[in-house]
Amino acid sequence: MHDGHEAVRPETPAEALGMTEEMGRAMARLAAAELDGGRVDLARDILEGLVVSNPHDHAAWTLLGAAEKRRGCALAARLCAAIAHELAPDDPRVELAYAEALLADEEERPAGRARLAVLAASKGPVGDRARALVAALGP
């Protein structure tokens, strides 16, 4: 069992059902819209279904972390963000979510601030948000 999974991972439910990445991203966008509209529970249900369908989609994990953060579940949010970070450590959006999740923990807050400081130098919505958070956190 252990030898096999290192080379080829098991088929995900999404693959078994024929769910394409486009469909997955469409559902993620829907969940993001629901999250923005304040319907956190509905967004969470959609995102939970997404991560269960394809555990390797870092975007779904990132958004699920955001949903858990909105619900006030800091540890769950941090775990989701950490899983997304493990899947895609180079993705700026994932890095941003991870940094924000670290801020919720007093011990990890300095590490979160350091990551935000690095992201603040980038452009686009990720950089904008990072700069806003750095400014809000203060010196």
Binding site: A7, R9, T12, L75, L79, I83, E86, P125, V126
Partner: protein
């Protein structure tokens, strides 16, 4: 503006044009499309877009022609656009390997193993047909067939259990010999969370071990079993998924205690009450693992092996129990039906 990005006025004009054509004696379908296209062309939608496979294509083309990005309604949506493609897991993805570096090796190994798997599955199927030949015997009753099936499955499970116990012993001996050998999977995290499902998850993501173990119960309730199972799969530990499925959801509170003590997640508290879990039978191995977990980071890998092997044993025993219960229930139901029939006759 409707879903196709065409202003309502333009759509109405298009419809009017088609209707006019119909009143004039009927336009051929192609002419009707061209008539509808005129107001659409005015806002920049070309003929190919009207034949677009989906509304999304039409919208995308309209946006491209207008020279702007798609309207973003939320910050999360904007940030989602900044996210890169998924690392596989969806249908149509090129590879299911965990990393690109393994792709070439996996393709070579997969071809060889595919041949082995094919021959193995063929021989396995032939052996299974031979073993189950009694099912085609018309001289024995259905109850007899069920009973023989139960016996056959029990024997197979017993063999698997004995093999798993031997494997447990061998791996434990191997881990004891090589002090630096790593666990089959799971990285040696710098969090040192102390083991258990949540410890393994926490260590796998790094620096989260203690928090995850201490907040395991809340985490199980917040995320639920399927999500925890997905997380274990995402982190390269799919064999933890069945355990995670048992832990999360409405059974979270009691099951977390039971399974955590089984897996040695909370070494400080020793044995806990695990009244409602089926893991009592392996609690001795769990406490043994718990005591091993206290000896520091060097023993983490050894504890990990014991836990994984203990889980395998537990799964085999549970599989045997489920099978036995199922078949015995079937036999009982059939017996009750026969007794009822006899009772009615009397």
């Amino acid at each position: 503006m409707n879903v196709h990005g065409v202003e309502d006025g333009a759509a109405a004009a298009a419809l009017a044009g088609v209707e006019q054509g119909e009143r004039g004696g009927g336009l051929a379908p192609a002419n009707a499309r061209r008539a509808a296209a005129r107001p659409a062309a005015a806002v920049g939608i070309g003929a190919p877009v009207l034949g677009a496979a989906s509304a999304n294509d039409a919208v995308a083309d309209l946006v491209a022609r207008l020279g702007g990005r798609a309207p973003v309604r939320s910050l999360d949506e904007a940030l989602l656009q900044a996210t890169g493609p998924a690392r596989g897991g969806y249908a149509g993805a090129t590879s299911r390997t965990t990393s690109a570096a393994l792709t070439a090796a996996a393709s070579r190994g997969t071809a060889a193993s595919a041949k082995k798997t094919t021959s193995r599955s063929t021989s396995t199927a032939a052996a299974a047909r031979k073993e189950l030949a009694f099912l085609d015997d018309k001289t024995i009753s259905i109850e007899e067939k069920l009973f023989r099936f139960l016996v056959l499955m029990q024997q197979k499970t017993d063999k698997d259990l004995v093999a798993a116990m031997k494997s447990y012993d061998e791996k434990k001996a191997a881990a004891a010999k090589s002090s630096g050998s790593s666990a089959p999977a799971a990285k040696s995290g710098d969090g040192g969370g102390g083991g258990g499902l949540f410890g393994l998850l926490g260590d796998a993501v790094g620096s989260l071990g203690k928090s995850v173990v201490s907040g395991a119960e809340g985490l199980a309730k917040d995320l639920g079993g399927p999500v925890l199972a997905a997380g274990a799969t995402a982190l390269g530990m799919p064999w933890l998924a069945p355990v995670a499925l048992q832990i999360g959801g409405p059974l979270a509170a009691g099951a977390v205690d039971g399974v955590a003590s089984l897996l040695g997640a909370d070494a400080g508290k020793g044995t806990r009450s695990a009244a409602s879990t089926p893991s009592r039978s392996t609690s001795t191995s769990g406490s043994h693992a718990a005591s091993a977990a206290t000896s520091g980071a060097g023993a983490t890998d050894e504890v990990f092996d014991e836990k994984v092997e203990a889980m395998k044993l537990q799964q085999l025993v549970e599989k045997q129990t489920v099978l036995f219960n199922t078949v015995s229930n079937i036999l009982k139901t059939m017996h009750d039906a026969q007794m009822n029939a006899i009772g009615n006759i009397r």
